[in-house]
């Protein structure tokens, strides 16, 4: 059934996968290499249809594995083509080696991670263990709460990546968003072309001016043929960290420009909902940050002043911004759809590190929720906040280990 998408004046109705594919098309991506995996596969199918149907002038490479998908993208990006790939869970894990490589080579590849649980055992449903497990590979990570933010983030990802020469991962929840249709405003090609200048690679692959990239790089700095002292391995690595630290400005400026052109501002590292007068803050990421707003409503009706901090950019982690946002909080309840095994939810650790050394003396509670597609309802978030409130006195600032909302 060929899909003539109904288009009301202002918007379409798209699921997350189709929103991502539209974002790739509008960004005029030139090389796509992807391998099918549930729940990402409709992205690859939709892009194949665009390419074969003449709606997107791009090379679609049906690679034999995710490891090769990213290898194709890094080299195509090295040559100067704008590239895209998409994957989930074990596909992303299989790319791990190449994730490091792409960041080290400072290549602006954009990857859509349709968040799915990691095995063993097999589970195709949603949580964020897969992308969180890749937080140390040097990629910028942006999380979408709904399908509008997916298409908008894919387009902004190219602007950001190609400005700071750092690859960007746009993460959205498998099934909960990827397979759920909702209204999405699809920007016009003209406006996207205005927003997104052509990609100018920092690499030159020209026999007339031969350069070799990513050869063996020794520990210590070394002098080149012109007598200039060049980096050692550590210096190159430092520059990657510096680029991620400085990318905050680029991310916010890109979000601002996007707002001016498309009417939806992304000049932030996280979404704030009634934080100004909140002394209790819920922290969540992805679609759970939407459900958390409903929970905040229910808690406000019960007389609690609750706000929601919906994390958008997980890397670089916006420590200073979080610090500012939480300055009036006495209780921070962090919901993680991942777990750094042996410790706690990754978001919780990042929040604690942001508050360390600050005057904020908030109690922090961490709940592990929604792993492997376990449904998380607003009323369960409310119950967790109430439980944390009752443990305020004797609980101490933090607990040794997070609490799990499960049936163990």
């Amino acid at each position: 059934m060929s899909r003539k998408i109904t288009r009301k004046a202002s918007g379409w109705i798209l699921d997350g996968n189709h929103a991502a594919a539209q974002g790739v098309k509008l960004s005029r991506v030139q090389v796509i290499a992807a391998y099918p995996i549930t729940p990402q596969s409709p992205v690859t199918e939709t892009l194949s249809e665009f390419v074969e149907g003449g709606k997107l002038d791009a090379e679609y490479i049906a690679v034999e594995s995710e490891h090769s998908a990213l290898a194709v993208c890094t080299s195509a990006s090295m040559v100067g083509a704008r590239t895209f790939t998409a994957t989930s869970a074990h596909g992303l894990a299989y790319m791990h080696e190449m994730l490091h490589w792409a960041a080290g080579a400072r290549l602006p590849v954009v990857l859509a991670c349709v968040n799915r649980a990691m095995g063993a055992p097999w589970n195709v449903l949603n949580d964020q263990q897969d992308s969180i497990s890749q937080r140390d590979t040097g990629w910028i990570q942006i999380y979408a709460r709904n399908n509008q933010e997916i298409i908008d983030s894919v387009i902004q990802a190219y602007k950001i990546a190609e400005s700071v020469y750092v690859p960007v991962m746009v993460c959205y929840d498998g099934y909960v968003l990827s397979h759920t249709e909702m209204p999405v405003d699809v920007p016009s090609q003209e406006n996207v072309d205005r927003f997104l200048p052509p990609y100018k690679p920092h690499t030159i692959l020209d026999p007339a001016n031969p350069k070799n990239y990513n050869l063996v790089t020794l520990a210590n700095p070394r002098v080149n043929a012109e007598g200039v002292l060049c980096h050692g391995y550590m210096e190159l690595r430092y520059l990657l960290q510096e680029a991620l630290q400085n990318s905050r400005e680029t991310i916010i400026r890109a979000g601002q420009e996007f707002g001016e052109l498309f009417g939806r501002s992304y000049a932030n590292m996280f979404w704030e909902d009634r934080l100004d007068d909140a002394d209790i803050v819920i922290v969540a990421m992805g679609s759970l940050a939407m459900e958390a707003i409903v929970a905040a409503d229910m808690l406000r009706e019960a007389g609690h002043k609750v706000g929601v901090l919906g994390l958008r950019v997980f890397r670089p982690f916006p420590k200073a911004d979080v610090l500012k946002a939480l300055k009036k909080s006495r209780l921070v309840v962090v919901f993680d759809k991942n777990i750094s095994y042996g410790l706690e939810g990754a978001t919780c650790s990042e929040i604690k590190s942001a508050l360390y050394g600050s005057p904020i003396n908030a109690v922090i509670r961490n709940f592990i929720v929604g792993l492997g597609g376990r449904d998380v309802k607003a009323r369960e978030l409310v119950a967790a906040v109430n439980k944390s409130l009752s443990s305020l006195k004797e609980g101490g600032l933090t607990q040794e280990y997070p609490e799990w909302l499960c049936a163990i």
């Binding site: 149907g53 049906a62 034999e64 594995s65 074990h90 063993a120 097999w122």
Partner: protein, 300 residues
């Protein structure tokens, strides 16, 4: 005495009510593979339709031990099972690595090639439904030229499939064979023979897929037979280099009644956009391969 439907072992290793689609050729093939191995097997299976056949925790519809493994590592997993059993001095079990065409031709070929070069002692079976059916039919290295799939939706696949059995034969392993779910007795004999051979053994089993290839699920057997009758699939075995045509392919070779490939292609919705030029190219490919087999066969 040749095994047939009447004297074949009654014992089943596949329990009723598994999760495969109605008319699934994999389910039929797997049933006879396990019977031929008399259940004396440890299977290792990557993410694929077969994982779904095995079922969802805490239940499984298969009564043999099975080790699930990530998509790229079937042969490596099998190697590990063989090494472990050897280290523990456990004998008499066949380690069965069984993956689809995606898991064999594409993402898993590196691990398989290395295991074959090491001559690791397991039986590797590729059940081939010519596409990534578990994720909704995307094209694979085995998808034929001109076939529609999720990732070749309009123009159909632009390249023909790779001949994985020839690739595996090139590794100089002691036993290589092709089989087809529509000829269960031929499959049964080959698995039984492979069980007795030492070293890496490879059997390429053709398993038509009703939803993936768009034909009605009562026609699975008919489509599978048509594939052999038109030469798309050639049933043979290569034992220490000796090439022998078997079952229907042997009788077709002797009678010379190969039917035009078009008859096979037209039965399947996945070929609805195939061009005349692509049909001719496929027919040429089939004829050339058929001729090579006739020349090589020692039993004609």
């Amino acid at each position: 005495m040749k095994t047939n439907a009447v004297n074949m072992t009654e014992k089943e290793y596949l329990l009723p009510g598994n999760r495969t689609c109605p008319g699934c050729a994999l389910s039929l093939a797997y049933r006879h593979i396990l019977k031929a191995l008399e259940g004396q097997v440890i299977a290792t299976v990557p993410a694929s339709c077969l994982t779904v056949l095995h079922g969802m925790y805490p239940l499984t519809s298969v009564t043999v031990p099975c080790v699930n493994t990530p998509f790229a590592s079937t042969a490596a997993s099998a190697t590990g099972l063989v090494a472990g059993l050897k280290a523990l001095g456990r004998e008499g079990l066949t380690v069965l690595a069984i993956a689809g065409d995606g898991g064999t031709h594409d993402i898993g070929i590196q691990a398989l090639s290395a295991a074959a070069e090491r001559q690791n002692d397991f039986l590797y079976i590729c059940y081939d439904n010519e596409g990534y059916m578990n994720t909704g039919n995307q094209r694979s290295g085995s998808t034929p030229l001109g076939a529609i799939s999720g990732t070749t939706p309009i123009l159909g696949k632009q390249q023909n499939q790779k001949d994985i059995t020839a690739i595996m034969e090139a590794h100089g392993i002691p036993y290589v064979a092709t089989a087809n779910a529509s000829y269960p007795l031929d499959l049964y004999e080959k698995v039984k023979k492979a069980r007795g051979v030492r070293g890496t053994r490879f059997i390429h089993v053709f398993t038509p897929c009703p939803p993936g290839w768009s034909f009605s699920f009562s026609d699975t057997i008919r489509i599978g037979k048509l594939a052999v009758e038109t030469g798309w699939v050639i049933l043979y075995e290569v034992e220490d280099g000796a090439f022998r045509l078997t079952s229907a392919s042997e009788s077709i070779a002797k009678k010379g009644n190969l039917r035009p490939l078009r008859e096979y292609l037209m039965e399947q919705g996945r070929f609805k956009n195939i061009t005349e030029e692509q049909i001719n190219e496929l027919q040429g490919w089939v004829n050339a391969r058929w001729k090579r087999c006739l020349d090589r066969a020692v039993n004609l």
